[in-house]
């Protein structure tokens, strides 16, 4: 048996990593602006997944097609963006105005997480014949456009998710660098007092950052429903661990590094763990008769392991590393070796 995972599995891992990247990017954004560690990020994303489910049930059930991905990203993003915006305006801002610290706000997001998971679960349970009459339960397997490449079936979402991540990142980057409001958002992240005395409505920047974070989460959440083979809101409780790991590896306050951190952590969970599992199977189980257990159940070991390594060796995350110095050091080492 080969240690390397199969092509469809690799593509699925890339798709999963892209989704985690988008979620971590959103998480880092609202942390950078409002300093709230949002533990409800993954359950907020489930609004995107439920939006996709309703879309399929109402429309794509009869008209299957590739546009389901675009519709899922846009509608799931908008709905979820609105939810995140509401969370900030109705819960977090009033709490912050009353002088709550980061701990209080964090606990509020824990509470929201529990509420969202339960409300969405109740909604879907109610759904047998009520909210989603056509689909069986909340399963969307077999409602995904696919390609046949050689012997492989390539599921549409494994293409759509990485493309979505790239497109949304490019749009977001252009927004941050080319628009006045985007520059104001970066300015506010760095120094909200200075931004406000120059005329920037900092509160509006905060509200928009929550909407954008929600949009990224909802877009990812909608397509992520495919990698999870169905819509189960309680899956958020596992995903949030990975999303936080991604943000922390990225450095928590940088949106771009958040994306990269999330991607790396997502990939490590799926591909890294599979490599480790296959290695264990081929060498320890077959050669040494070690107990035949699947390491795949221990994905979080990878993400949390990365967090531990990061906190030990680069506590400010990938964003805090002086990459210029690293490059110089590597260059010097090469030069030194030649001497």
């Amino acid at each position: 048996m080969s240690i390397l995972p199969s092509l469809p599995y690799t593509l699925d891992a890339l798709a999963y990593a892209s989704a985690i990247g988008l979620l971590s990017m959103g998480l880092s954004l609202t942390y950078a602006t409002t300093k709230v560690p949002n533990f409800a990020q993954a359950s907020i994303a489930m609004f995107g997944a439920v939006t996709l489910l309703l879309l399929i049930d109402r429309y794509y059930y009869y008209h299957p097609g590739w546009s389901v991905f675009l519709a899922g990203v846009v509608l799931g993003g908008l709905v979820t963006g609105a939810v995140a915006w509401l969370v900030y305006v109705t819960v977090l801002k009033p709490l912050a105005d009353r002088g709550n610290t980061v701990i209080g706000l964090m606990i509020a997001t824990f509470a929201l997480d529990i509420i969202f998971v339960n409300v969405l679960t109740a909604y879907l349970d109610e759904a047998h014949g009520v909210h989603i009459p056509k689909l069986i339960g909340a399963s969307i397997t077999s409602f995904e456009p696919r390609l046949h490449i050689g012997d492989y079936i390539v599921y549409g979402y494994t293409i759509a998710l990485p493309i979505t991540a790239v497109v949304l990142t490019v749009i977001f980057h252009l927004f941050l660098t080319r628009t006045k409001f985007g520059v104001a958002m970066r300015a506010t992240i760095e120094n909200p007092d200075l931004a406000s005395v120059l005329g920037v409505n900092v509160n509006l920047v905060y509200m928009v950052s929550w909407f954008l974070s929600g949009f990224l989460a909802g877009a990812a959440g909608a397509l992520m429903a495919y990698t999870l083979k169905g819509v189960d809101p309680s899956a958020a409780e596992l995903i949030i661990v990975t999303v936080f790991a991604g943000s922390i590896v990225g450095g928590l306050e940088s949106v771009y590094w958040g994306l990269i951190g999330g991607f790396i952590v997502g990939l490590a969970e799926k591909l890294g763990m599979t490599l480790l599992n296959n290695f264990y199977r081929d060498y320890f189980v077959l050669k040494w008769h070690a107990p035949n257990v699947s390491l795949l159940n221990y994905e979080k070991f990878m993400s949390l392991g990365l967090v531990v390594v990061m906190l030990l060796y680069a506590p400010r995350g990938l964003a805090g590393i002086d990459w210029g110095a690293v490059a110089r050091r590597l260059g010097l080492r090469r030069g030194g070796g030649g001497r």
Partner: protein, 241 residues
């Protein structure tokens, strides 16, 4: 009747959360004057300027701009009313380019107007032209201070509040800044509130002044008289007799 004071502060008590810093501060800044705030380190000079701009917590008292009560309005709205503030620390965005900093400084302006003002300000500070695409953090301390000054000028506000604008500058650059202020008042009819570490320099160019000591007004009156007051000068401002 004479026109309303540009800034009128009445019985102001303010601070940071539970840290009460300013006690019963009252002052009036007339249009087109240079108003000086001096005092020992930690006496609350910066806090007073921040309070005028809505960045601290006001417990009681009021702040008026041209007769209009602005005590409870947010900072960005004060900017739109024609106030500008150059903070003592963190007065440029280090992670943004010089061009982006200037754009932010003119955030309340229309795009066409902003471009024109940026062009004007680049004439005044020509060294910035070569640095437009450099991040502000790559500038030297003096250059940053001049960028901050340029940012304060861009909007052409009615009233400028400068917090130690000459700190860390070489004497020549410091003089340039001071000349700029005199020019703003004389040629442009602007009002200036100036906090200065160098009390002598400030009191020489100022019209009226207050001396803050431990968050209270210890002197209020003509700048020249405060400069001449040997006792206060020696005790609080490190001026030689």
């Amino acid at each position: 009747m004479s026109e309303a004071p540009m800034i009128e502060v009445r019985e102001l008590n303010a601070g940071y959360g539970r840290f009460h810093i300013l006690f019963d501060v009252s002052l009036e800044v007339e249009p087109r004057e240079i108003f000086i705030i001096v005092g020992p380190n930690g006496s609350g000079k910066s806090t007073l300027l921040k309070t005028l701009f809505g960045l601290t917590k006001v417990y009681s008292g009021s702040v008026k701009l041209e007769g209009r009560d602005i005590t409870r309005i947010p900072p960005h709205a004060r900017a739109k009313l024609g106030m500008a503030y150059l903070p003592q620390v963190g007065n440029v965005f280090a992670e943004l380019t010089v061009a982006e900093n200037l754009k932010m400084a003119g955030y309340t302006l229309e795009a066409s107007e902003l471009e024109e003002r940026i062009r004007d300000v680049l004439e005044v500070f020509p060294f910035l032209k070569q640095k437009l695409n450099a991040k502000a953090k790559t500038l030297s301390g003096g250059q940053r201070q001049l960028l901050a000054m340029a940012m304060a000028l861009i909007r052409e506000p009615k009233v400028f509040m400068f917090d130690e604008p000459t700190a860390g500058l070489a004497p020549k650059a410091a003089k340039e800044i001071i000349d700029k202020m005199l020019w703003l008042r004389k040629e442009k009819g602007k009002t200036i509130v100036l906090v200065e570490q160098n009390a002598k320099l400030a009191l020489e160019i100022g019209d009226r002044a207050i001396l803050l000591v431990s968050g209270r007004v210890a002197y209020r009156g003509k700048a020249s008289e405060l400069l001449a007051d040997k006792e206060l000068g020696k005790k609080y401002l490190g001026l030689k007799g």
